[in-house]
Amino acid sequence: MTARAGIESAISLPTRIWTRLTVRQRLGLIFAPGAVFGGLITVIALALFGPAIVDFLSVNNGIPRFFAAVTAILMMTVPTAFVIIYLELKVIARMNLRVGPNRVGPWGSAMSVIHGFKVLAKEDFAPTGADVTVFTLAPVVTYMASIMTLLVIPFAPGLVGQDLNIGLLYFFAMGGLTVVGLLMAGWSSFNKYSLLGGLRSAAQMISYEIPLTLSVVGVIILAKTMSLNGIVNAQSGSLFDWFVFKQPLAALIFFIAATAEANRTPFDLTEADSEIVAGFATEYSGMRFGFFFFAEYVNVFIMSALIATTFFGGWNAPFNWPWTVTLNAFQPFSYGLIGWTAIVITVAFVGTEALAVLVRLVGGKTWDMTSTFVMGMAINVLLVIGLLGFLGFIAFDVVRGLTWFMLKTYGFVLVFVWMRATLPRVRVDQLMGFAWKWLLPAALLNLFVTATAVVLTNSR
């Protein structure tokens, strides 16, 4: 028996077949059985239970709506995090008199996407001695806790994942789960810095939950509901119906406590880089770290959204919108399929041609023909998008509400970013002292005053 034959015989038959396949064949081998079996099972299930499923869904149409909402929210979080990360990179850079990211994409705007890919490409390992199960689950728990709170936030009239009648309670219950994830990460990493960070986060978030929750009780009393949609509706009307004018102290307490809940400067003790390296995330790398990172920025968005919802009128406009136009012409099906096709073709081609001529007239012969047409097309697309957006803004409540909501939310995101660029970090005893000695009594006082006022006005 030669050596060659020995090696051949040592390799098993499946391995031999596998090594002779091309990459495309291998992929086919992996995915084809899944597709076949999945298709078969679907067909059989539809044949057997199809009418029943359709009947069930048509009766309970909340269920597909719920799944669609959850999927949309899940899809929304990562781009949101990208935008906030980019904002943070760029805004802090400008505040530091730096340029900030300026290489990838226009003004460096794709930088955070690249960060995301980098995180995906990094090696993902657990340190020796770590409790691998808990270590792996911790980022998932943190991320899940963050995005589950998004379910009850009303983005616009009718645009809410699930309008729970205990929405606020659900929000705080889910938000409180974040600390479990951080504690798991800190404990399982087998690192003292992680442990300190995890314990700090537990102490900090549990302490700040109390003023955070107490400060909105005044709002609940005034709005007479715990549904976030109801709270926003209670603030409709003029600018001075917003709860920030009725509950200014509560708004302040809520903002401070929300900063601590989102682990943002000056309360970012859990990941204080100059003290405990990276806190609970010290031993994390790759996408596990990415989940923590995304969760942090999603948290910033959520806290800003909650502040905007609870105290700043949510999707209500700051003033009464003068044009309550309903554009019948804009109704999707009023022109029929042929009409819409004609409109789209006309706008696309005629607009592009016209603008290309304009570009040619303005730019002269500096650009060649292709560039002129591309430029005309780009300007056309921008114009159409702008026009559609404006029409949507004045015609649809949803677009208008979403615009105001996002403006307010990103305003608060910018405030968080601004604070990060400006403020040093507080010490852990100062942090706890502030929560228990100042915020908690202030929140109780606010609650007491609000409740008294409500009782007095109602009895009169």
Partner: protein, 456 residues
Amino acid sequence: MPPRQPAPSTSKPRASAKADATTPAKAPTKAALARAAKASAAAAAHAAADVAAREYTSGDDPRITLERQIGHLYEPIPPYPMRTERESEFYTLGDGEMFLNVGPHHPATHGVLRLVLKLSGEQVVDVDPVLGYLHRGVEKICENSDYYHVIDQVDPLEYISSLFQEWSAVLSFEKLLDVQVPRRAEYIRVLSAELLRIASHTLYMGFLALDLGGLTPILYGFIERDEIVEMLAALTGARMLFNYYRIGGVNGDLNHEFMSRLGDWMTRAAKQTDANIGLLNENEIFVRRTRGVGVMSREMALRYGVTGGDLRAAGVPFDVRRAHPYSVYPELDFNVPTRDEGDALARYLIRVDEIRESIKIIDQCLHNMPDGPIMARVPRLIRPRPGRAWGAVEGPRGLMGVYAISDGSDQPFRFRIHDPSFVNLQTLQAMLPGNLLADTMAIVASLDPVMGGVDK
């Protein structure tokens, strides 16, 4: 195919490991122990832990076994016999205490300072600073290079403010040689050194804020420092390691680019400094993080031999420029600011005041700058008469001294460098216990150590 060998019995390696572990303990003499320590201490520690792990395997929770196996890798306990009583006392844990190894790779230890902290919760119980990660043996190198080469050997020690280290070296050599430095050269030295002092202090403020979690001041500090080092680059040809002072003078005269940059900067220096300082002075969180933290009393500061701003913050008006004047400082009008609190905030505010005083000095230098040569007549090959000289200058961090002994040859027989950060760092042992972990970074940053100088 040959049959596979039977699995080795577990008793064999255990026995050999035990033998390894016990061998150095039986060694008779101290000398033999010291030699054996190098070779086998680490191996013995691993082997012992290995044995312990295997013995506990049966019936125990596997996770506990794992901690036993690798736990010694995570404790900063040294793997050699304790050398002093203090060391063995430190590396013995009390109830509820743990070690935390801060550095040498840590975001807030200013280079490669390593602090082994003994923590109870977040409270520091004791600290053992470990130095030497940046030791290059500069003193030995200087003793083996001639007098001119010493100047560029000492440059990278205090890399933030290298002119002062050069100055102390050339001062001691000039004393050995009895050279009278021309007045214009002295004024240029004062001018450039005070500029660098401002750069160093501006950076200090930024790093202090950075260690407290403030991102922005460090970048403002670097902008200020960059203007100054660009200016000095026009004067000396280098941004950081200047190699500018010479025995008996300086390397080059003032030039147009330097003067125009300096004039440009001086018109707004005071205003810009106030603006930068306002970032921190008016910040409530910064003030609360530093006030009453790391208090160094007057007696303690003197007992520890602390110098520089750290000593003046404790109320001792000791500034070498006034206490033991050198160069043309007696002719210049400036104050030595002192404070009584001795805490981190006072150390910070002293630096702020010193920036203002330095701007005053630069202004006077520009007004009083005499004409004349910039170098004394010094021989090409320097062979001072046998003797000893001690040259000390006031650096940004305190007294920077050089003790040079000449034996009549062209190389210093002994070249001793005294670095202020080295002495100031010792106070950590007295200041840290009782403070929180977060204050550790504030205190270290407020002492302003430069590890290049500390480790020599």
